[in-house]
């Protein structure tokens, strides 16, 4: 057991670090530039992405012809570890590069890949994912938006929701129902769409944090050329699953207040005349969060060890979001509670903001990219091999599936 890079990995890490040092400042504890909701950082994010792209770091695991350098999975992790030490914008491109990119890579034609992948990697064109609908969240295959074929075009009508970044996206990947007479999963077809197409209307959703990173997207007689179909007609679910698998990899650790923040805060915060850290309940909570945070960190190291040897990692990383989102919520709650009644107030204190943001933002993280409940089903079924639930919609034409009041 050791934590050393191989000579090649060390050389690669050095190369990453040298380039980063020449092009970005180290993190200095000030607010990180990572807020997805903040449109002001869009320009800055695009500039940073372009800089990375020109040097080959933007999508380093992609083949050279699309702007990558053909990096191995472990090199990709080394880059990410090093980049994380610097104060650079992140978040804006994650959905495009993490989910839309791989689907285009697998299903688009060669000409389309050459046209769309490099600008996506460069950050010149931003992509979003148009999957969820008002009546199709966890059961996303239950979506209703309709596509009807007319000649070599499709006409799409319907509504998408929870679309992160749609308000600044140039393109989107879209799954719609082409035939409601077929069973739920069989009647779906997958496209990519120009977000500037006539008939697309994007309306931001105000979240409980007060920010707006999600949108409603309305489709009214939107025309999509058949050439922008990804996969065969009726293969929409298969293509969507590719994306969702990538989403599970992309949505990992919950950013924000962690056990070290809670610990440092408890050391310095007065509670009934003594440091909060002297409180037994506070100490027990900190011990529990420390075990979870270390457990996640060490799980990551195990995954990296497998990749480093060229092995396929085990399923252990599947626990990450469930554990980290709930921990974030609890730690936010702990920080606010420590202020007693004054915890209600918005203040200039960065520490207090961090706890309040964690508490307000964590409910979203427990839902986005698979709810806690869906992810527990995934672990139970895919990792532990338990049988699926019997489903009321199996073998039934989509149009005949009960759908409640909606």
């Amino acid at each position: 057991m050791d934590f050393n890079d191989t000579p090649d990995q060390a050389k690669f890490r050095e190369k990453c670090r040298t380039w980063l040092e020449n092009n970005a400042p180290y993190k200095d504890g000030s607010a990180k530039m990572e807020s997805f909701a903040n449109k002001d950082i869009l320009k800055e994010a695009k500039e940073w992405q372009k800089k990375k792209y020109n040097a080959g770091w933007a999508m380093l695991h992609w083949p050279k012809e699309y702007g990558g350098i053909g990096a191995t999975p472990i090199e990709r992790i080394i880059w990410a570890n090093e980049e994380a030490k610097f104060n650079v914008p992140k978040g804006i491109f994650e959905i495009g590069l993490g989910m839309c990119g791989p689907v285009m890579m697998t299903y688009a034609t060669e000409e389309q890949k050459e046209r769309y992948l490099p600008p996506m990697a460069e950050g010149k064109e931003i992509w979003c994912q148009l999957f969820s609908e008002p009546s199709a969240g966890s059961d996303v295959a239950g979506l209703r938006s309709k596509a009807i074929k007319k000649g070599d075009k499709w006409v799409v009508n319907g509504q998408k929701v929870w679309t992160s970044g749609a308000h600044f996206s140039d393109f989107g990947i879209l799954v719609v129902r082409h035939d409601p007479e077929l069973e739920k999963h069989k009647g779906l077809t997958f496209f990519f769409v120009d977000m500037k197409s006539p008939g697309i209307e994007v309306k931001p959703i105000k979240q409980i944090t007060g920010g707006s990173s999600f949108n409603e997207v309305y489709f009214t007689d939107v025309e999509i050329p058949d050439s922008q179909r990804l996969g065969e007609i009726g293969d929409g679910w298969k293509v969507a699953i590719t994306t969702l698998m990538n989403e599970r990899l992309a949505v990992g650790d919950a950013d924000g207040a962690d056990v070290e923040d809670a610990f440092k805060w408890a050391k310095n915060q007065d509670n009934l005349g003594e440091p909060l850290l002297n409180n037994r309940a506070a100490r027990e909570s900190i011990a529990d969060w420390y075990c979870e945070a270390s457990g996640l960190k060490n799980t990551k190291l195990r995954t990296m060890s497998a990749l480093s040897k060229g092995d396929t990692p085990g399923p252990e990383a599947s626990i990450t979001k469930i554990v980290s989102a709930a921990k974030l919520q609890d730690i936010g709650n702990f920080g606010i509670d420590s202020l007693d009644m004054a915890g209600m107030l918005k203040t200039d204190s960065e520490n207090i903001k961090r706890f309040q943001n964690a508490w307000l933002g964590a409910p979203g993280l427990r839902i986005a990219g698979g709810t806690d409940e869906i992810l527990r089903n995934v672990i139970a079924e895919r990792v532990l091999g338990l049988p699926q639930d019997p489903r009321a919609d199996k073998g039934v034409a989509y149009k005949d599936i009960p759908s409640g009041k909606n």
Partner: protein
């Protein structure tokens, strides 16, 4: 980056697993529990023959001279199969104290006998119905004569020797006692995991030998406990895995309302939570194993982290395994209770969950994160 065991260590683990499976360790555990026989001597002798008691003992003392990582993989398998043997008492605690703190004469005398099985050791700390500490030890050593009484000492009947935590004029020390000496009286104590015997030992003017420093014994004990916590944690994740596997298999086979109970989300989510707690514990154990094998300055916090998460995982997996089995889980006939009992024993050996959590936070305070 290589947070993983070597191929040789994985091979050793596989061999240990095959051996304990072949020896029907689980049903041996039941036999000990039902017959109140306190230990399985036959299984213990076979384990001695395999050389496992000498894994960490240097070759000059006839041991295998291997590292702690080899011990970790063995511990995980012993935990998985609930082996009813004094391995933790003799190997993780007694042997490590002798290796680390005994003088050369004692090492030359004792270590080869631990390899051959002639000596089996245990550690005697607790005296009253409360957690032991450096300030509540009353057993006393004067002029190399020990007086006092210890309770809940695991494996004292099969043990030939014990390390006894005792006070003296200068403080607390570790004393080596031959349990066949005059003045030693060992009595069985009924307990809640009778697959492992626990005993009261009374010492009446018993000859003893000082191990390590005369006043620093409690610190030596704490140091050994911090190491042993990693090995206990490996036993705990082995047990957690077995309890979880048992629950998963039952949930696939048991039908209710016309379908396997494992298809109900209430059961699925329970089992997913077992997997989550076990994965956290296992990953923390890997890191602690590394810290132990390299004697890292991180060891106290790494071992406390592994210990706390492994205790939580085993308690959770063993109690929810019973729950998943429904009424069957509450019967003596099903094995669920054996894991439940062992999870409790392992969570108390070397100190309770709440005290380990406290130790973890004290460690954070000392590491001076500002």
């Amino acid at each position: 980056m290589n947070l993983d065991f070597s191929n040789d260590q994985k091979f050793l683990k596989e061999e240990a697993k095959k051996f304990l499976e072949k020896e029907k360790s689980l049903s041996r555990n039941r036999t000990v529990l039902e017959n109140n026989s306190r230990v399985d001597k036959d299984l213990w002798n076979k384990i001695v023959d395999l050389g496992w008691t000498g894994i960490r003992i240097p070759e000059e003392y006839e041991g295998l001279g291997l590292g702690h990582l080899e011990l970790c993989v063995i511990a995980e398998e012993l935990g998985r199969f609930l082996a009813p043997v004094p391995f933790s008492s003799s190997v993780y605690l007694f042997t490590e104290i002798i290796i680390n703190y005994a003088n050369d004469d004692i090492k030359k005398d004792i270590l080869p006998k631990l390899v051959s099985g002639e000596v089996v050791g245990t550690l005697a700390v607790t005296e009253e119905l409360k957690a032991p500490s450096s300030s509540n030890i009353t057993s006393k050593c004067e002029n190399s004569l020990l007086n006092g009484s210890k309770i809940a000492v695991p494996d004292a009947e099969i043990a030939t020797h014990a390390i006894v935590v005792a006070k003296n004029e200068k403080g607390v020390s570790l004393q080596l006692v031959d349990l066949s000496s005059n003045g030693v009286n060992i009595e069985y104590q009924e307990n809640i995991d009778e697959s492992r015997g626990h005993f009261q030992i009374k010492f009446d003017n018993v000859e003893c030998q000082l191990i390590g420093d005369e006043s620093n014994g409690w610190n030596l004990y704490e140091t050994i406990v911090n190491q042993a916590a990693v090995l206990f944690a490996y036993e705990q994740i082995g047990g957690s895995q077995a309890a979880m596997d048992m629950a998963i298999n039952y949930a696939k086979e048991r039908y209710a309302f016309g379908r396997p109970i494992g298809s109900f989300q209430a059961i699925k989510h329970k089992l997913a939570d077992m997997y989550i707690s076990l994965t956290l514990a296992k990953s923390n154990c890997y890191y602690a194993a590394w810290a132990l094998s390299t004697n890292s300055s991180d060891l106290p916090s790494a071992s406390a982290t592994a210990r706390v998460s492994a205790t939580k995982a085993y308690q959770f997996c063993s109690k929810e395994n019973i729950q998943t089995h429904g009424g069957n889980g509450f019967t003596w006939e099903y094995d669920c209770h054996m894991f439940y009992r062992r999870s409790k024993l392992l969570s108390l050996n070397i100190g309770s969950l709440s005290n380990w959590k406290e130790k973890l936070v004290v460690g954070l305070e000392q590491s001076n994160i500002n």
